[in-house]
């Protein structure tokens, strides 16, 4: 085969890069600077920032280290989405938004120190409260260094995906619940707690269950933005649901969230749907009656007849059987462990 000369496909586009600026202790509020830049094929958001810093404004401040999406330093928001600057191509974003301009802002939900650099200590502090380390179980971890602990592939796979987490904070920046309640732990901290709790070599699960609940396990709204932005696809919101299950399995059943979960399963089994009018009482106990009465009064005002039950959906009978068979499989798996 005769060699064919290679002509690399390279495009470029003159774009406006709009960057949020701010220096704590100096500026009263953030403002934006605009930089004109020829954006080429292959240019990452980080490369663009570096180019601006090197050639246009040496004071432009951002974090960056490994450039290969493993250190988690360079998280910023590009057109609102939390991303790693180093692994995000700029040209496709310019094309997606069709504006010839792109806005780069620091991570949300954290105090800005300067320009694109935020103070991430609040996340680290929250993480530390989750006991994010293995506390060796003497049953699994040998005393001496002559042998490793034995752990099956399935046991590892249960949490292996979570060890991809690079603590970049993208999920924290995107988190709806942190935005509304700064005391909430945020996705990565709960996910990290889960990673250790289900490690068979660990012995600290109960403590972490409570730590997660204390830091807002049930405050996650399941908007799933964290899943969208995670550069390592660790799917934190899914893990938060699993952590909730873990606490329930471990016997912590007096939380509003665990009561909701229980009601959903029971209702779907029984009616094929959730009896929403009754949820306030199911979840909050007698305190919930007030909410029900308010809702019923509103319905009456609109000329509708309130109801405290839902109809049984036709054909839901099959569902009960499904739950039964699922339960049997899960019991069997439990015994296998």
């Amino acid at each position: 085969m005769a060699p064919v000369k290679i002509t690399p496909k390279r495009e470029s586009l003159l774009a406006n890069i709009r960057v949020q600026r701010f220096t704590s202790g100096k500026d009263r509020s953030p403002y934006f600077d605009n930089f004109k830049l020829e954006v080429e094929t292959g240019m990452t958001v980080l490369a663009a920032l570096r180019k601006i810093k090197d050639e246009q404004d040496g004071s432009l401040t951002f974090r960056a280290f490994c450039r290969s999406a493993i250190c988690g330093s360079c998280t910023v928001r590009v057109n609102g989405r939390s991303v790693l600057a180093c692994s995000t191509q700029l040209l496709p974003i310019l094309k997606d938004f069709r504006k010839g301009s792109v806005t780069i802002a620091p991570m949300a939900n954290l105090p800005v120190l300067r320009d694109l650099v935020v103070d991430i200590d609040p996340v680290i502090d929250k993480l530390a409260k989750m006991h994010p380390y293995l506390i060796e179980s003497p049953e699994r971890v040998p005393e001496a260094l002559e042998r490793e602990s034995l752990m099956s592939r399935d046991e590892l796979n249960a949490f292996d995906y979570m060890t991809d987490c690079i603590l970049c904070g993208s999920c924290y920046s995107a988190c709806s619940s942190v935005a509304a309640d700064p005391s909430y732990a945020g996705p990565l901290t709960i996910a990290k707690a889960y990673r250790f709790s289900i490690d068979v070599r660990d012995s600290f699960r109960g403590i972490r269950d409570q730590a997660a609940i204390d830091q807002g396990l049930w405050s996650c709204v399941q908007c799933r933005k964290c899943i969208k932005v995670c550069p390592k696809d660790t799917r934190p919101a899914d893990t938060i649901r699993r952590t909730r299950k873990l606490t329930i399995d471990d016997g912590i059943r007096d939380t509003p969230g665990s009561r909701r979960a229980k009601a959903y399963v029971a209702d779907i089994k029984r009616f094929g749907q959730v009896n929403k009018p009754m949820l306030p009482v199911v979840v909050f106990g007698t305190k919930g009656w007030e909410a029900i009465e308010v809702a019923e009064a509103a319905l009456t005002k609109q000329g509708l007849e309130p109801t405290r039950r839902v109809c049984k959906l036709p054909g839901q009978e099959g569902v009960e059987g499904i739950f039964g068979r699922v339960r049997a499989i899960e019991d069997e798996e439990e015994q296998g462990r």
């Binding site: 938004f97 709806s176 509003p256 099959g318 059987g321 499904i322 899960e330």
Partner: protein
């Protein structure tokens, strides 16, 4: 007129995506659980509006609540199994699976995706369904009000049906989270820069107003464990839109609608704000633009009065 009728569960028809010769579109309809109580009116509104657009809905027989992800807090396998069962219902009808509820869309999309990626899990789920004579094949398409309007019916046809364009109306559009996050659930459009909602609104003649909290979460799903947090989130969304002086907000998600409209007074009271911002569920506004009356669209049922000249 739209016809809602139960399909014959026994007959298998080939899967159809393309409109029939008549130009009508038919979907297997899965309502989810959000159309309960006063919200039952949305059945009626949706069928009226879709009727105008030559869209027919056939109820999926035996469908049950998707569990909203909440049942996964007890059992992921149960969620996979009952939703595979829901999807199998549409497969048997040979029709695309349509749910107006964004959360159902999200949860069931996710189930579809997980079963597609993991053949072992797919088999396990089918073994669970087998005693009921149900098999999930993983063939169907799943869609949402937004994409039926913007893509299946299409903007051109929609434009043709608009009789009362909403000129001069300043609208804040709100997708809600569950048709957007995560990005991989369906791929109907860019997850970072979706335009289907705005495309539809523009065809209706409205002016789109951008606002800070457009991508926020309405807080619906945290209401039961943490009502205060939910109200705080609802309040933030509303305040962001209010700041840009929109006439009203429109959302394509019926659950967001419940919070933004139904919880609005409490949410604003909790944050010490006092204003009223009308919120419409997308099909309502489509209906109005297509010549249906506020009575047809049952706007009286809104908690926040829709006192906007349309």
């Amino acid at each position: 007129m739209t016809r809602i009728h139960t399909a014959d569960a026994g007959t298998r028809t080939p899967f159809r995506v393309q409109p029939e010769m008549s130009g009508r579109l038919t979907y297997a309809f899965y309502s989810g659980c959000c159309f309960q109580g006063a919200d039952a009116r949305f059945f009626d509104i949706l069928t009226q509006v879709f009727g105008r657009l030559d869209v027919d809905l056939q109820l999926i027989p035996d469908a049950v609540c998707c569990g909203a992800g909440v049942i996964e807090e007890r059992s992921e396998l149960a969620s996979l199994a009952i939703n595979a069962r829901n999807l199998a219902g549409a497969e048997r009808m040979g029709l695309p699976f349509f749910t107006p509820c964004s959360t159902c869309f999200n949860v069931i999309s996710n189930v579809q995706k997980r079963l597609a990626e993991d053949p072992r899990l797919h088999d396990q789920v089918n073994r669970i369904l087998a005693p009921d004579g149900i098999e999930y094949r993983g063939e169907g398409r799943l869609t949402h009000t937004l994409y039926i309007l913007a893509q299946d019916v299409g903007l051109e046809k929609l434009g043709e049906r608009v009789t009362h364009p909403l000129h001069g109306l300043r609208v804040g559009s709100f997708y809600g989270c569950h048709t957007r996050n995560p990005a991989d659930i369906q791929g109907y459009e860019s997850a970072d820069n979706p335009t289907s909602l705005e495309d539809v609104l523009r065809v209706l003649g409205a002016e789109i107003v951008d606002y800070d909290t457009r991508d926020n979460c309405c807080g619906y799903h945290v209401a039961w464990p943490n009502a205060d947090l939910s109200k705080a989130m609802t309040g933030q969304v509303l305040q962001g839109a209010k700041k840009q002086e929109v006439d009203l907000m429109v959302t394509s998600c019926p659950l967001c609608f419940k919070n933004l409209d139904g919880v609005q007074p409490k949410a604003l009271a909790a944050t010490g704000r006092d204003f009223q911002l009308p919120v419409l569920y997308l099909p309502e506004l489509v209906g109005l633009a297509c010549g249906m009356s506020p009575e047809d669209m049952k706007l009286d049922f809104h908690v926040v009065p829709v006192n906007v000249r349309l």
